[in-house]
């Protein structure tokens, strides 16, 4: 083993230790606000409700828990992975920052230097997002009560607007599939509750239908 390899192995093993410690703390911190509000109001969700929430979360995003860390791994490496899946915004903020840090220092992909530079880039991006979001959260809190009524009225539409924009973004990558799945999902929303199936299941059913539609589409367009 040459010296470079020795250094990077040492780096990885220190990163592993650091990572496990901070990930464990993050996991606890993640629940603190929920526990706090439940405690002061005395309203704890029951175990079965928590389970239901967890199933809903896993049904909606569970694939992402596994697929996303895997897909970004080659860009952010192990040390970066620890931070990325606590800090989020991986595709939009972390990966570009890691990439830029490597680019300006002329790193060759896969080298120990590239691994360390990508980690430096991710650390930098974490500082940036924390500082910016904190700044605007504090300023925003001051500004909110002073907002004109028109602005507050506009914020009432935030949900359909965000979802509409997100759907446009997702659908623009495959418009035909986007339109078909929108139609099957609307049908699902209208029909599933009438069949006596609990409303919470609509989403899962719609996702399964969407995947089936995609499979048919894949088979039909495959040469």
């Amino acid at each position: 083993m040459n010296k470079e390899q020795e250094v990077i192995q040492g780096f990885r093993s220190s990163a592993k230790t650091l990572g496990f410690v901070f990930v464990t703390i993050a996991l606890v911190c993640n629940f603190v606000p929920a526990i706090y509000v439940s405690t002061i109001t005395g309203q704890f969700p029951s175990v079965s409700q928590l389970l239901q929430l967890w199933v809903a979360a896993a049904a909606a995003f569970g694939v992402g828990y596994i697929v996303q860390p895997v897909s970004f791994f080659p860009i952010v490496n192990m040390a970066g992975t620890f931070m990325c899946w606590i800090a989020g915004n991986v595709g939009e903020v972390r990966a570009p920052a890691a990439n830029m840090a490597q680019k300006v220092t002329n790193c060759e992909q896969g080298t120990p230097k590239a691994e360390i530079m990508s980690c430096i880039g991710i650390c930098a991006s974490v500082f940036v997002t924390i500082i910016m979001i904190t700044f605007f959260a504090l300023v925003g809190a001051q500004v909110m009560p002073l907002m004109p009524k028109f602005v507050m009225k506009a914020f009432g539409f935030v949900l359909p607007c965000v979802l509409g924009a997100v759907y446009a973004d997702l659908a623009s990558k495959n418009f035909v599939l986007g339109v078909i799945i929108m139609l099957t999902s609307i049908a699902g929303i209208l029909i599933v509750p009438k069949l006596g199936i609990p409303g919470g299941m609509t989403m899962l059913i719609n996702i399964i239908i969407a995947v089936l539609v995609a499979r048919c589409y894949f088979m039909a367009t495959k040469k």
């Binding site: 250094v7 990077i8 592993k16 993050a26 996991l27 911190c29 603190v32 606000p33 929920a34 706090y36 509000v37 309203q43 929430l53 979360a57 909606a60 694939v63 860390p69 992975t81 620890f82 899946w85 606590i86 800090a87 989020g88 903020v93 890691a98 830029m100 840090a101 680019k103 120990p112 230097k113 980690c119 430096i120 991710i122 650390c123 991006s125 974490v126 500082f127 940036v128 910016m132 979001i133 959260a137 914020f155 539409f157 935030v158 949900l159 359909p160 965000v162 509409g164 924009a165 759907y167 446009a168 973004d169 623009s172 929303i189 209208l190 989403m203 996702i207 239908i209 995609a214 894949f218």
Partner: protein, 235 residues
């Protein structure tokens, strides 16, 4: 205590800060580790600082995207929660989707004025449970991911894996969008209008400013703002 008082209470700011402090310290410690090992590899400190600086500049642009959504999310879930959840894992759309699912389960809604205390509590638990998925699998799984990466690439058709993911996301968001527009089987015309305006705005930004990276970084926030204000003005 009223929901509004709790949502923005000083204590909730404190409770929400632990996550962010932990993340900040984590990045500091990792940065220290990087600099130490860079030195061992013979990389000059100036080079590390150059990398750090360019990453800072790169991150500023796209960081505005969560900032814009933050302001909107603050109106719905209060300052501390929006602050914490925009700083941690879960993109804006994920947090919104999860809180929409959770509040719905509590018989409440994220719409202005309709959020109940139980709805808020469910949203907090829902987001925490959802984020745990990434923290546990991304965090504890990091060391073994290297092997998994190779396995996936070698054993599945790449195009189908991508399409599968895209379809699952489309299924999820079409349902959420449908639920935001159709209430108890009846179409809410204001919400439909808002969604259509944002949808079109997003497509327009995507098509006509395709080469403009800066605008693309802001596109989701911009399209959302256009939809919100056009709807407020017209409806």
């Amino acid at each position: 205590m009223e929901l509004k008082d709790i949502m923005n209470s000083p204590m909730l700011w404190v409770m929400s800060s632990f996550m962010i402090i932990n993340l900040f310290l984590m990045a500091l410690m990792f940065l220290r580790l990087c600099f130490k090992n860079a030195e061992k590899l013979g990389i000059p400190k100036e080079e590390c600082i150059t990398g750090l600086r360019s990453a800072v500049f790169t991150a500023i642009g796209p960081a505005f995207a969560p900032v814009i959504v933050l302001i909107a999310l603050m109106a719905v879930l209060g300052g501390p929660t929006a602050w914490m959840r925009m700083n941690d894992i879960g993109a804006a759309r994920t947090e919104l989707a999860m809180s929409a699912i959770a509040t719905g389960m509590a018989g409440s809604s994220l719409e202005a004025g309709k959020l109940t205390m139980l709805g808020f509590i469910f949203a907090l638990w829902g987001m925490a449970l959802n984020n745990s998925g990434w923290i546990i699998i991304g965090g504890y799984g990091a060391p073994s991911l290297n092997k998994a990466v190779d396995y996936l690439k070698n054993n599945f058709n790449d195009a189908w894996v991508k399409l599968f993911m895209a379809a699952a996301a489309l299924g999820l968001f079409s349902t959420l969008l449908g639920n935001a527009i159709i209430k108890k089987g009846v179409v809410n015309q204001k919400n439909l209008f808002a969604a259509v305006v944002s949808f079109v705005a997003m497509l327009v930004i995507g098509r006509f400013f395709k080469g403009n990276k800066k605008i693309q970084e802001f596109s989701l926030g911009l399209a959302m703002l256009v939809g919100m204000f056009v709807t407020a003005a017209v409806m």
